[in-house]
């Protein structure tokens, strides 16, 4: 924004020019088009990046194919046939849209041709799909868009060394981790505001870090390690972060962006937009961009028909996000997408397919990556009415070797759950009976880290129980299942070990008849929140799985969303604007004590800021937990200080409020007495202000004659 002109300045200028300002209707003035009077708009830069209108008249739909064989005229038609066959598959070639120039002297072709499509999308996909196409050994196609010729012409012939910019030290983007009180941050969106807070459980309230109105146009998202906060706008996505406050670090231009996804190691960001057709004849196409997060460079884009990006098992209405799933842990080495009969695995060094080939898996319905290793687990459903069994395979990347495979019969559906350290994979198998009238559920448990990957089958005691929820203990060997048919399901805990044998699964406990339909493990393991969301109105049970006991129960009425903080010390429950009433969030301690409640109208989002993994070695962590007393002393002392300070503050504040109030009361009393005679007159002399005294007496005169207790159902008069 340039300088802001104040009204006083305008008046002064008007005076100087001899204009009577009051006679001028400021609203009626229109600026000449294109003139900005030196006032630069914030948006301009972005607006001009928006896609130029695609005109039919341009050359956007023409491609140039190089490296064709040079042939005499006799073979012209044969070559044309071949080329038309290749390029006719991609899109309709316009009538008269093929032109292969011929050298009039040698009567031979020049080794290139022009092809004009009906749309520029076809041209683009032709370029993407056939650039590098091998016609034979010596003829590898080089395909370019006609419009790009100008771009290539501009490249200077001589190489000039790139200018090296001096190194400017960046901010410490992880400053928030060095908070002295070791607090965690969270972001909320409510009304037009997006706010980042410290969770300050000692003060029993959040402390504002940063607040901004209209920060994002749809949602915000933390990056997986918490370094960045992403916002989404009409023109693209932006990431924010910094040492002291939230500065804009990078922008990623992508008009109409709908969804974003970070790579697990925060190297890349993927943006997605879908362009619905305005009329049914046009195609519904989608665009995905891969950007380098630090440089903002566009690494690769994928565009195409929406149908191609809707993967096997997902619903009809849209793509299942993320379309590209990141694999191989935090190295950000691979990403993959489900296609028809293939899984396309790309690597990020070149952003191309590994071995230039997709992984062929006939009829693949779903796949998942191991969260830590480059291993893909994929599921192929039953085929041929049960003649060919369903299959779950583990495939190593980039070697594409099958590590383990399991055939399963009578399968109707499969769901895969990885433990977050990639040690175990649980496959939930829904089987139907021969008549297909009823289904039963069992689990196949893979031990990924053990030799030959042993598989164990786990069946519930009642095979007909429905599985409501399944969750692995983070970093642990236990898992919890909510199962049952009725309105009050049971919850069972299992361990992948028994007391004697580390290779056997065992049941730890079953809790009967709980009002729960969702499981939330603490990120540190051991503790678990059993939540009854939606139909159960927000019942919460904080459970300790080590001791197998309930620590506390609570309720956040109508709660819709639950998230543990990244350290597992606190848990946030919130009611978002899907409900009209009660919007806001509650913060609980890990053991189920309600710490504070913040009501917020129009509450949209609550997200804890993730933390990167601890830098401490496992030995060091063990040492700390052994000598916990030594370390905790310092914090306990701090806690005590704070609580003393708080109660001191609180007392002072209360005293102040009370004094303030007493002043009011004294003033009122004085005025009341002053006005007594006047009031008496208004009431025709009737003695007036005796109410107060009469009340005071009654307080003293209280006497308990008889106390009987009866239990009364206070709800009996309702409904």
């Amino acid at each position: 924004m340039a300088s802001i002109v104040s009204m006083a300045d305008i008046e002064a200028t008007a005076k100087g020019l001899g204009i009577d300002l009051s006679a001028v209707n400021l609203d009626s003035i229109t600026l000449p088009p294109g003139e900005d009077f030196g006032i630069k708009s914030d948006d301009d830069e972005d607006l001009y990046h928006e896609e130029a209108l695609e005109l039919e008249a341009g050359f956007g739909n023409v491609i140039v194919v190089d490296n064709l064989p040079v042939i005499p005229l006799e073979k012209f038609e044969k070559l044309e046939g071949v080329i038309r066959k290749i390029y006719g598959q991609i899109g309709t070639i316009r009538e008269g849209g093929f032109w292969m120039p011929v050298n009039p002297e040698t009567k031979k072709t020049l080794g290139y041709c022009f092809i004009e499509y009906n749309t520029s999308q076809d041209a683009k996909s032709a370029k993407e799909n056939t650039n590098g196409y091998k016609l034979d050994k010596s003829h590898i196609f080089a395909v370019n868009l006609f419009d790009e010729i100008e771009k290539y012409m501009k490249i200077p012939d001589e190489w000039t060394p790139a200018e090296i910019k001096p190194y400017a030290p960046g901010e410490n983007l992880q400053k928030w981790l060095t908070d002295e009180k070791a607090r965690d941050q969270f972001v909320i969106r409510a009304g037009p505001f997006t706010e980042v807070f410290w969770n300050d459980p000692r003060q029993l309230m959040p402390e504002l870090v940063y607040r901004r109105q209209y920060w994002t146009e749809s949602f915000v998202q933390w990056s997986p390690l918490g370094t960045y906060l992403a916002t989404v706008h009409r023109q693209g996505a932006a990431i924010w972060g910094g040492a002291s406050t939230f500065n804009r670090l990078m922008r990623f231009a992508h008009p109409q962006v709908k969804l974003i996804d970070f790579s697990p190691g925060e190297k890349y960001i993927v943006t997605y937009s879908s362009h619905e057709p305005s009329n049914p004849r046009e195609k519904h196409w989608v665009l995905l961009n891969f950007f380098d997060l630090r440089t903002g460079k566009l690494m690769r884009d994928f565009r195409g028909n929406a149908d191609d990006f809707v993967s096997g098992s997902s619903n009809v209405t849209g793509v299942s996000w993320p379309v590209f799933r990141w694999g191989g842990g935090r190295e950000d080495k691979f990403f993959a997408r489900l296609g028809k009969n293939v899984i396309s695995v790309y690597e990020t060094e070149t952003f191309t397919l590994i071995d230039k080939k997709s992984l062929k898996v006939e009829n693949v319905a779903d796949f998942t990556w191991s969260p830590t290793d480059p291993i893909i687990a994929c599921f192929v459903p039953e085929l041929g009415g049960g003649n060919q069994p369903a299959r779950v395979s583990l495939i190593q990347v980039p070697s594409k070797e099958e590590m383990r495979q399991k055939n399963l019969f009578n399968v109707s559906d499969i769901k895969m759950y990885w433990q977050n350290n990639g040690e175990y994979l649980a496959v939930k198998v829904d089987r139907h009976t021969k008549t297909k009238k009823s289904t039963t559920t069992g689990f196949e448990l893979f031990r990924i880290k053990e030799r030959d990957i042993p598989i164990e089958v786990l069946e519930l005691e009642n095979k007909n129980d429905k599985i409501v929820a399944f969750a692995w203990e983070p970093k642990g060997h236990r898992f919890a299942i909510i199962h049952g048919d009725g309105p009050r399901p049971d919850i069972s805990f299992y361990s992948m070990r028994t007391a004697q044998n580390v290779g056997r699964v065992s049941k730890l406990a079953t809790l009967k008849s709980k009002q729960a339909n969702a499981l939330y493990w603490s990120p540190a393991g051991r503790f678990l929140v059993l939540a009854g969301l939606k139909g159960f109105n927000g019942q919460l049970e904080f459970y300790n799985v080590d001791e197998l006991e309930t620590m506390a129960t609570g309720e956040h009425f109508m709660a819709t969303y639950i998230e543990w903080d990244p350290t597992g010390r606190y848990c946030a429950t919130s009611v978002t604007s899907v409900h009209e009433m009660e919007n806001g969030f509650h913060i609980w301690s890990f053991n189920g004590k309600l710490l504070y409640r913040i009501p917020k109208d129009q509450f949209y989002q609550f997200l804890w800021r993730p933390r990167p993994p601890s830098l401490l070695s496992p030995e060091k962590e063990e040492e700390i937990s052994k000598n916990l007393k030594k370390y905790s002393k310092k914090y306990e002392a701090e806690d005590q200080d704070v609580s003393l300070q708080l109660s001191e503050q609180d007392r002072k504040k209360r005293k102040m409020i009370q004094e303030e109030w007493d002043q009011w009361v004294a003033q009122w009393k004085k005025l009341h007495e002053e006005e007594e005679q006047l009031r008496l007159a208004l009431r025709d002399g009737e003695a007036s202000d005796e109410e107060e005294e009469y009340e005071a007496k009654e307080v003293e005169g209280e006497e308990v004659i008889d106390v009987t207790e009866e239990i009364v159902d206070s709800d009996e008069d309702q409904d």
């Binding site: 202000d689 009364v712 206070s714």
Partner: protein, 326 residues
Amino acid sequence: MRPILMKGHERPLTFLKYNREGDLLFSCAKDHNPTVWFADNGDRLGVYRGHNGAVWCCDVSRDSRRLITGSADQTVKLWDVQSGTQLYSFNFDSPARAVEFSVGDKLAVITTDPFMGQTSTIQVKRISRDPNEQVGDSILTIKGPQGRINRAVWGPLNKTIISAGEDAVIRLWDSETGQLLKESDKETGHQKTVASLVKSSDGSHFLTGSLDKSAKLWDSRTLTLIKTYVTERPVNACDISPLLDHVVIGGGQDASAVTRTDHRAGKFEAKFFHKILEEEIGGVKGHFGPINALAFNPDGRSFSSGGEDGYIRLHHFDSDYFTIKM
């Protein structure tokens, strides 16, 4: 605390008022019939028949002889409390919303709704001791605020009139000249319709409840904002305890938006707040519709609430209520 349920109205309650001694409770509802009850045991004493529309508000004179009621049938009626006979009927061109007797019961302030192109008004009528001498002329008419004026009450010594309504602004008027003396601040004041306004027992301060989910305490003479009580529900009704430093706030989700899932969803509790610390003390459940009316007994030992559900719930406080420590 076991409430006494008083089922006499067939439609939602709109207003509750105790007489000065606290032995009678007057209730208004949308069913046309203001009713008087024994405030101790909830027995019905009688009904005032004559209105032909919802009754929005009432007031009772200091000597408990006269009742004034304002109704959507475009009349304000004076009644003999004891016999139930109608003494006089003021006629208006639009529904009457709020009524209150002045100190000394010689004047009454009445507000009328905007209706068929007419703006809302605040009017002052003279009340004669002898009903036969009663005349219908207004001695003062104030126009100006936009939208309904939900409440108008007398300031100290009848010198001012305090009004509040749909435009969320609290206004202080000179009751002699009709001049606007003061307006509440837009920033710190209510953001949505003010649904109720009640004075403290000595008239020195008053409490307003608003659909912006808060109630605010103001100084009657200077219109200074003193306290704000924030809750999670739109506030339809509120009152100040005459005995302890408590206020009670009631309301709930709008009746048209009430969910069928759970009665707790609507927040139909009456919530008690500490008047000075602005902290919530507790709540009283029971209604299965929004609370439209609340009133403390002048002795502060019981209170009653009236709901959209048509019930009046009369609560006598348990002994431990009086020993609550904050």
